[in-house]
């Protein structure tokens, strides 16, 4: 069984959750593209979403390697994501109906934030050379 120090484990779990988030964003970006054929707005949003998903994959990789910038960007992203979710939940548009939106929009971002906070104590001070993935 592979043993890891607790702080690394927190980042490892967070990075897996971020990869799942990035995958779901990637799918959302892809699914918007066909609509972009007739809707110019979704052309832009679809491409933007794919770029953000790619950035999230990169951030997850950076987090696994203990990069400080990845930690900072992810905290910002998750806080923004949770804030938007909270705002949308206040609107009467049925944004959070059922377990799936609850997991995707609330539980996963919140878990990532908690894990990032839990692992932050042992975060490397320098963006030094990467350990092998």
């Amino acid at each position: 069984m592979s043993q890891m120090p607790p702080a690394n484990s927190a980042f490892e779990i967070a990075s897996v959750l971020v990869v799942v988030q990035a995958s779901l964003s990637f799918v959302a970006g892809l699914s918007a593209l066909p609509f972009g054929l007739v809707e110019p707005g979704f052309r832009v949003l679809g491409v933007l979403t794919l770029l953000i998903a790619a950035a999230m994959f990169w951030l997850a990789r950076g987090l696994r390697r203990g990069r400080r910038w990845a930690w900072g960007w992810l905290v910002t992203l998750e806080v923004v994501s949770l804030a938007i979710t909270a705002l949308l939940s206040l609107l009467p548009i049925g944004t959070m109906r059922g377990p799936v939106p609850l997991l995707v929009n609330l539980v996963i971002p919140l878990s990532v934030l908690v894990l990032l906070a839990a692992g932050s104590g042992d975060r490397p001070a320098q963006p030094g050379p990467a350990e092998p993935a």
Binding site: S2, M4, L17, S23, A28, G41, L45, G98, V100, V104
Partner: protein
Amino acid sequence: MYDIAADHAPALSAAIVLVVFLWVFLRVMRLLAASGAALPTRVTAAFDRAPALTKLAAVLMLLSGAIHLALVRGHDGITGILFIIDGVGFIGLGIAAFITSWWRRLAMLWLTATIAAYIVWVIAGWETPDQVGIACKLIELVALGLVMRLNHPTRRTWPRRIWRATALPLISIVMTFGIWVGGLAHPDALHAHAGAVLQPVNAVATPEQGAAAARLLADTKVSLTRYGDPAVAIAAGYEPGPVSDADPLLHFQNPANAHAILDPNRPQALVYARTPSGLRLVGAMYQMPKVGQWGPDPGGPLTQWHQHEGICFSPFGFEFSFETPFWTCSVGSTSGTTAPMLHVWIIDNGKSGPFAAELDKAVQRELARRS
């Protein structure tokens, strides 16, 4: 778009019960271990020794196992048998994670096979995707990601690296498209265009319902005669909605009528078609004040309300795309469900009829040609 199937609801309770049970179980084991009992000491030691990734992966597999077992009752035949095998397998793997070293590869295979089987079942129409099923696959996806991180290959070849980097996104994409294909191949009778979910109604209209529907149509036509000129509608408080190249119709909404219920004198919106010769009034849209609150349908199946679910709205005018089964939209757009609505078309709406959820495509083409 994806609700919770009635026979799947117990699975949610099972998941909550399992989490509470695991917490209580660990507390009891720790208490017994503190008093020197041999087995609880071994159990807590095995748990404490396991890395956090293993613990979480095990809990997620136990959750999936409990959900599968809770679903057996509503699934007959081969699906029910597979649910038992799957549930027992996941529970076995969840326990094996703490006491064996060989569980990881088997867990990866088991998780991948379960997700693949779900996609096959959905595409074949043997299972209808709902929120419990999709949430369960999400749990398995995270568990798979964790197990993959735990599995450190001895040989770091490029194919292995590429597989580790792309497996989760690939599975997410395949799962999403599989669920969509299943939805398209086996449409629900209560689903219409653009994520519109129809109000459940009786199959055949009674003569009274037919008369009531005709009355609603006539009253709406009379009421709308004054709004032929859009300027009159604007003066009466109707505000034109955003224009989209993708939608030949333009809705003028009147916020003052938001709380009127199916009142022909106070429809929530007027619908104009954009024709080469300008805007032409084609119908009214009645809308209920709240999401999920179906309106009165005097005409029964003839005046069936609908609400749009699983739609991503963008701020760039009246544009929309489909939400993924994971309830995600592209950045900048938001998932939304509209309050139930009923359209009444005051022009001949062809085969679709005067209360159809959308203006008939042939009528739309005719309007676009007409000058």
